[in-house]
Symmetry: D2
Subunit: 318 residues, 4 copies
């Protein structure tokens, strides 16, 4: 996940501000007065049969981006409670929905393209293994088409799909962005898809929500550390990030519990308090909270996501 890749403290030295990688949650946490804020539009639809809720948040202006703490761009959230449950077909209905929204976001998706999928995260930490595991199940075609032509797949139109698992900085000694930049320059894909585990604000969204955004990956929400960004600006090609929240920050959960406890006391600002007393709460830095069945969940969710990408790559050629 984005934090887990970072050096210690990069993220959490702050004042325990509310932390979420989901635009949907950022939207919710903006106070009511701001809720009709200019520059943010929301669209949504619900698929009843599949029990899938799709919410699209469009952040259109710099000012809105600042208030939301997220860059300008489109954020599509697929909420599918079924995602955490076992299913014989690996939730093909969710993969289909993901494929559709992914195609909506890829520019000129109907044209033949070269697509590089980057699986961020650490394979050896269960909650951070989403990226590597999604990449494991992709249908990779670039090398075959380059060697044998599209005839190898009996078709005249074919996306070239490649993938890389760059690993985490503690193991490589390199910024993820350095590795991806190098590979992009060398292999010149048309589009980048980046997969990453996310942090949610609420446990109720864990492992059952997929976010797709065309803003790429901006660790720390643009707070410094631009070397790490994987964005259209830094890489020169569209960058679409797909993420699933698998953890909740410890500080967030403690803050939420405090809020509940002191809920009636409107004067009291919990997160400000925690920021002011950050030494007392310092043990929460670099800790995260995750569910006890995370291994089975990650296995299933990563399969559903990789199937979604596989379907999108194939469907765009129809």
């Amino acid at each position: 996940m984005q934090q887990a890749h970072l050096e210690q403290g990069d993220f959490f030295m702050g004042n325990f501000q509310i932390r979420t990688d989901l635009a949907l949650e950022a939207r919710e946490s903006v106070s009511e007065a701001d809720s009709e804020l200019r520059g943010v539009r929301v669209e949504e639809y619900y698929k009843e049969e599949e029990d899938i809720q799709v919410t699209k948040v469009f952040i259109d202006t710099k000012n809105a981006a600042k208030i939301m703490g997220k860059p300008i761009g489109t954020y599509v959230t697929i909420e599918a409670p079924a995602l955490v449950e076992p299913d014989e077909d690996y939730h093909k209905e969710i993969s289909d929905c993901l494929a559709e929204e992914l195609l909506n976001m890829i520019p000129d998706a109907e044209k033949e393209q070269s697509v590089l999928v980057v699986g961020l995260g650490n394979r050896d930490v269960t909650a951070d293994a989403l990226g590597p595991r999604v990449v494991d199940n992709l249908f990779i075609t670039r090398h075959v088409v380059r060697a044998y032509g599209k005839a190898a797949y009996n078709c005249t139109k074919m996306n070239l799909v490649s993938s890389i698992e760059p690993g985490v900085m503690a193991k490589t000694g390199m910024e993820t962005a350095e590795i991806v930049q190098g590979v992009v320059e060398e292999t010149k894909p048309d589009v980048l898809i980046v997969i990453d585990a996310l942090a949610a604000r609420s446990t109720k969204r864990l492992n059952r929500t997929i976010q797709i955004t065309n803003t790429g990956i901006q660790p720390g929400s643009g707070v410094g550390n631009h070397r790490n960004a994987l964005t259209e600006e830094t890489l020169g090609i569209p960058v679409i990030a797909i993420g699933v929240p698998t953890v909740v920050d410890a500080a967030t959960i403690v803050g939420d519990a405090l809020e509940k406890l002191l809920g009636d006391d409107k004067e009291f600002d919990t997160f400000k308090y925690m920021g002011q007393h950050r030494t007392a709460f310092s043990e929460l830095n670099n800790m995260y909270m995750t569910g006890k069945d995370i291994d089975a969940v990650i296995k299933r969710v990563s399969f559903t996501v990789s199937e979604g990408i596989n379907i999108a790559m194939e469907r765009s050629m129809e």
Copy 2:
């Protein structure tokens, strides 16, 4: 870890009582008035050069066991801050200390014995992989001695070491205790050593503390679920449990944060409050908190523990 193996709710449906697998912490959390309670003795020593603190808690009476929430028996805690740090020799000084205290606890350790080491936990969940990973690095001898005699190792005295990784119930459909019981009856070891990841109360003990106890494993601290116990009583042979805390319960951490916040208000009992409002805090059930570098830490700590066992098995034959 013990909770992670259990069905959802087994443990946490309680009233958010303070939860720790460390007798040392249970001792600390008993209020001052009780602190000289009869039936609990404490011994300790400090190895200055190695910065290793060893504390032995002896629970001698039923009453003390009840107050402490831990069964009658001996609990040795090795606190070694260095354990979380990389080291060229994998902290041989800690392995040596563990070996010594382990030999103190094995009855008739100087005699040739057949020792079965059980690696509890889930290899696929990083924070719960301690048991399986310790077992990976053991020096296994039973099959060789049985096939070729002790001559195979050029010695006249030799422990027979075997090991098993029973897996978690969600994968096997069987209680761990059923599997271990069956293997014990069939292979008749003299002693059982059980390795498991633990939950600590405080993040400051995470991954740097080793607990050795002759009380075996009693999920839920004996609160029901006796089928799951791995103890001398259920198995008929001495059972020594070695554990390292790798997680902190979410509920505990929230409770601690509340305590800090409301520290001056002696009237307010945080954990009682949480218990009373358990619906509000229900999202904390089945969540745990762990450090972000857990993969590297588990790799190193499990090596140090397995080396400790290897050294003990060899040294007892000198």
Copy 3:
């Protein structure tokens, strides 16, 4: 695979006799004169649409068992060339066929049963990982039914499925049979299903053949080492073994090449020659030969096999 679990030399010190775990191949290698031998019956059918060939070899007499080098019993071989190729549905047609033949072999398959599936082999050696990987994908129900009743699955009839991955002797210090025997005695399943990687005689059967037999596992084809057997005789319940050949023995492949080279010279008995000159060929001991894409193949084949078992368990309840 059966050989890989064994101590060095258990198997290969012989005189380089033809080595195959497939009854089908044993049948083929019996010379023509013997081919109408009494006590061996063969039945077969071909599913044209799915390109699946099913051959059933029945060994009915002790004499036939001796000539074939296989115990008395039924051996069903499913040959499905598609098995080595990627498929969106993981070759459901092959899983279905496996399910059907498995149900034919389980006594009283239509009754509710407790079924223990044993995944033999070494997860860390790709070609030997079939058993552990099949077990990874099973639908395990025993613990749920025992805890919550069949109502948990909204049904009135339900098999209790459990599984174990006993590991290899070099890691456990115990015979596989000791572990399985213990678990069987403790959990009392009605039927045992054992999964194992096999050795084939011919590379053309690698990874595309599934053998199902009611003779269980008899390492070394009953040549000594009875402690290791997993059979109805040793365990007291029906034992059905499912295997897929993933390797070819080095000695066999060399022998075959020599045969080709010297094919016209009917006087020359290659394998006898190799047996007589076994020192010269000793480097072939403890070596095996496998394909270069073994990782992808094992991943797919193990999924197809586990789906076959899942389907059988569910279908028998209809």
Copy 4:
């Protein structure tokens, strides 16, 4: 290993020529008449106490390169029979020897350098996992020095070590050389060290031999496919390859067995015969042969190799 990464047939469509990645074996297989061939020099020394034989083959001329089937350059082979055996210190004496010879080969090794270590191969195929596993155990420093300066390590001189595991083409859709080239251009290391599993001609060198060469990696010994090369010529920086033979080609082993069988018949050229009858032997393509305890061996050998690199990186700063 180099073959395993390649498309099917890249390598083996030949006429079953003798295949070895070891210059030492190429040297041996050159017939006696050529053995004093100009342009090839051999130096050797033996460390009696450690039982380590070091042989250096210098190929100095184009002609010699052609006869040997290996590019111009230096090839150091460390033969250490102990490497296959367990050892408490992970064979530190072999790591030391590797460190020394590696430093001899790195230009200006005494100067501070930025070193990128590339772990080639497939983590999921045991015999091909050497590269990824060596990289797992390296002491990575680049990111720390860049973020905090050398002061982080309390020293004034420090190599910057980084690493990457590029994965295999079937998983990435990219040539290894594309990925490495991109990362080299982006991160500008001074030296590249490439780790790979090798194929040996003889089983007696399996897993107990380490080859270090300054010629980099040239799949197919320069026979076409230059895109794949990782050499000073293609990358612009010195490329040192470290390899350990973990497999023997099936075709080679069959050829050797035939030679033994027909040893007296000097007229008969086995490998030429196999080439001529390549259809008959085609099943040997894409097969390799490996030992049955390959998992334990790879685990140990990769640790010894990574320790050798760690020692070299540290020692060069003394």
